[in-house]
Structures are given as C-alpha cells and as structure tokens.
C-alpha cells in the first residue's frame, strides 16, 4: 500500500477540488457578490445623495450588506457535500476532519469573501468614501470577511441536518457576528473620517485568530452529529 498523504497536501487537494467545482458553477458563487453590490448601490439611491450624509451611513451599509451577503453564501459551504455523501467520505478519510472542513472554509472564503473585499472599493466609493480611506476599508473588510466565514462555518454545520435552514442559520450566525460588525464598522468609519484605525483592526484580527483556531473544531463536531 502506498504511503498516506501529508495532511497539508490533503487539505490543498480538497481546496483545489472545491475551486474547480466552483469554476464549473460560477453562477452560484457570483450571486452573493452581486447581492452585495446591488445592496450597497441601493443606499445612495434611497438616501439623500448629499456626500456628508452618505459618508455617515457608508460603514453601516457596507458591513450590513457584507454580513448578509456572507449569510447567503453559507448555503454553498457544506450543503451539497452533505446531500451527495461527500461529507461522509471526508469524515472517514482518515485525515483530521476539522482540518478538511477548515480547508473547505478557506476555499469558500476565496470564492465569496475575497471577491467581496475586491469590489469593496467600488462600493465604498459609491457611498462617498474618499480615496484615502480605501486601504483602511479594505483591511477591515479583509479581516472581517475572514472572521465571518469562520463563524458562518459553525452556523452552516449546525443547521446541516435541517430541511429549511436559512432562517435558523441567520439566527445562529448573526448574534455571533455582532463583534465583527461593531469593530468592522468602527474601523471603516474611522478610515472614512481619516483617523487611525489600528485599534479596531487589532480586535478584528483577534477575532479572526479566535475563529480560525476554534471554529473548525466546533464545525467538525456539528457535522459529525448531522451525519449520524
């Protein structure tokens, strides 16, 4: 029998599988991104388009839209693998299950979180953010989207066994996401106001570290229960 694959390589193999699958189904993955763009563009249309007013609501609009878009994307994380039995095969592959789920979550972030960060300058500009604020907005969204995808993995895993999981998923994830929302929106507001944004960014970074270390374990436990 040939040697077992190193766990790192196993994770990368799973990530490349998910990325390849996503390429075949680009429509699925673009929807949350388009949702984010549409919602952020609606704000200037619905509100008084005066620049100072828009700048006041920009952080909130960006972050609430980002949060809701990440919730929409959760459906794509584990559900299909659960339905076709792939998740079961992953659970008995002999590779640490939490690690494989983490790899899936990272692939999911590359497909839904990162694109959102990349279009954020557009959305932020539409909401009246000055060009000087864009790097700060990007940094905050980068960290925030990482934290949200980890939290989302827990919510998606907990609701796997349920038929209509969307609302329950939101009810589970949204309260957990409150700290991310608070510090993310704060960092964005400070960036738009041209003030130093390090403190909220540090806290966001701490949330990312916490999520990256603990969320895969929680998600793995939850998925195992759903497989029973």
């Amino acid at each position: 029998m040939s040697a077992r694959v190193p766990v790192l390589q196993a994770g990368l193999r799973l990530m490349s599988r998910d990325l390849r699958l996503a390429m075949r189904r680009a429509g699925d993955w673009l929807q949350p991104l388009v949702f984010f763009l549409v919602v952020t563009t609606l704000f200037p249309l619905a509100l008084n388009p005066e620049l100072s007013r828009l700048r006041d609501v920009a952080p909130g609009a960006l972050w609430v839209a980002g949060l809701l878009s990440s919730l929409l994307a959760l459906e794509l994380l584990f559900r299909e693998d659960s339905l076709d039995g792939s998740l079961e095969q992953l659970a008995i592959s002999g590779v640490p299950f939490a690690w494989l789920l983490w790899a899936k979550t990272v692939a999911h972030w590359l497909l839904t979180g990162l694109p959102l960060v990349l279009v954020a300058p557009l959305a932020a500009t539409a909401l009246g953010a000055p060009a000087a604020a864009i790097p700060g907005v990007l940094a905050a969204l980068l960290l925030g989207s990482l934290a949200l995808s980890q939290l989302g993995a827990i919510g998606a895993a907990l609701t796997l066994g349920l038929r209509r999981s969307g609302v329950l998923q939101a009810v589970i994830v949204l309260p957990l996401a409150v700290p991310v929302l608070i510090f993310g929106a704060r960092a964005t507001a400070l960036a738009i106001a041209g003030e130093p944004i390090a403190p909220p960014l540090y806290l966001l970074g701490a949330l990312v570290v916490l999520g990256v270390t603990l969320a895969p374990l929680a998600a793995a436990a939850a998925v195992r229960i759903s497989l029973e």
Binding site: M1, V5, R17, R20, S86, Q89, G94
Partner: protein
C-alpha cells in the same frame, strides 16, 4: 504508514444500537478474519445500513466494542479510517466532476494517486470511455461502478460495502463478485450488506442475519 503488527481482523462484540427510543439491533456479535467476507442480510429496516455505518464510526453505538486488528477502533479512529474503504447509499461523488477527477481528488486525500491510477481503476470496473463524462450525465449503475472504483483505488484492507450491486446489470454484479473475491484472496476483509448471493467459496463467507 507503519507496518501493522497484526493481520487484518474485524470483530464486533455485543453491539447495541438505538434510534431514539427504538432498538435497531442489540447483542450483535461477529468476527471476520483476513480473506473472509461477512455478508449482512435481513429484511428492509432491519438495520443493515445502520450496522455498517456504526462499524465505520459514523453512528455512535449504544453499547459494544468494535475491534480492528485486535484494538478498539475508537482508540484511534484516524488510523482505522485510513484502512477502511466505505461504499454507502449516498455514493459521495461530485456531479460536476468527471469520474477520473472525482477519484483523483477524493482518493488523493488518502494516498498518492495520479490520473493514470484513477483511469486504471475505472477501467477495472468496466467504465470505459464514460469515465471522462461528468458524473451527472451517468446512469445510476455507472455511478455505482465509479464508487466501486474508488473503493478499489483506496487499496484498503477493509471494505465495508452497502448494497454494492444495486442498479448494476448482470455483468456488473458478476464483476463486483470477481473483484471482491480478488480482494479476499489478497488477504483483505469485507463486510457487505446485500441480498444477492455472493459468488464466493463457502470458506470465505460468513453470514449475519439481522431482524
């Protein structure tokens, strides 16, 4: 992988499984040594699939011990899973990938495989040129063959197969029998839930009737 000290041997002692307040089975016991296949039969709903999933460690047992090579499987599930190939009801193939890609990605988590090895395994199950089709364009029987090719490619000493011949034509059923016999001759262990008679010599077949 370190060379296992003991020969392949799967045993279950006094297995009890409950679903809610209903006992699916209780007091089940068996032993299968290298080169032997345990055929699990029983009426629908007797708990064949549950037993197989419990052996894989996917379902928690109420009571009882499962031993592989003489050691408790729950002591090191990772090591046990590395030696286990499971074919379940849900075949676990991605419908948007071709058969070759499916094997390449999935078995690639367990051991080093390249596309040539995946192709060879698919040829063994008689899939032919269909192996470059997306899974979703395949018939149920073809999907079953791909799933069986995955079991072959895993090169694991323990096979746990749930209705491996369902949806297969006569040639396919015979093929599975041949491949299973070859696995046993090579010193493998198999647990198979099926109603079909397995074309195996009597000395390498044990029977477990549930329900």
């Amino acid at each position: 992988m370190t060379t296992p000290s003991r020969p392949p041997h799967l045993a279950g002692h006094d297995l009890h499984l409950w679903r809610g307040d209903r006992a699916v089975f209780s007091g089940i016991g068996f032993e299968v040594a290298a080169g032997v296949c345990l055929q699990v039969t029983g009426p629908n709903g007797a708990g064949k699939t549950s037993l197989l999933r419990a052996l894989c460690g996917l379902l928690p047992l109420e009571r009882g011990r499962v031993q592989w090579r003489g050691a408790e499987v729950h002591a090191d599930l990772g090591a046990f899973h590395a030696e286990l190939a499971y074919l379940g009801h849900d075949i676990g193939l991605k419908s948007d990938l071709t058969a070759v890609e499916n094997l390449y990605y999935e078995v690639g988590l367990r051991r080093r495989v390249d596309r040539a090895a995946a192709t060879a395994a698919l040829e063994q199950v008689g899939l032919g040129p269909a192996m470059h089709q997306d899974i979703r364009h395949m018939s149920a029987g073809q999907k079953r063959r791909v799933a069986f090719a995955r079991v072959l490619l895993c090169a694991c000493p323990l096979w746990i197969l749930d209705e491996p011949t369902s949806n297969l034509d006569a040639a396919g059923q015979a093929l599975i029998g041949t491949l299973l016999a070859a696995h046993l001759r090579a010193g493998g262990v198999a647990v198979v839930a099926t109603h079909q008679a397995l074309p195996l010599p009597a000395e390498s077949l044990r029977s477990l009737v549930l329900g």
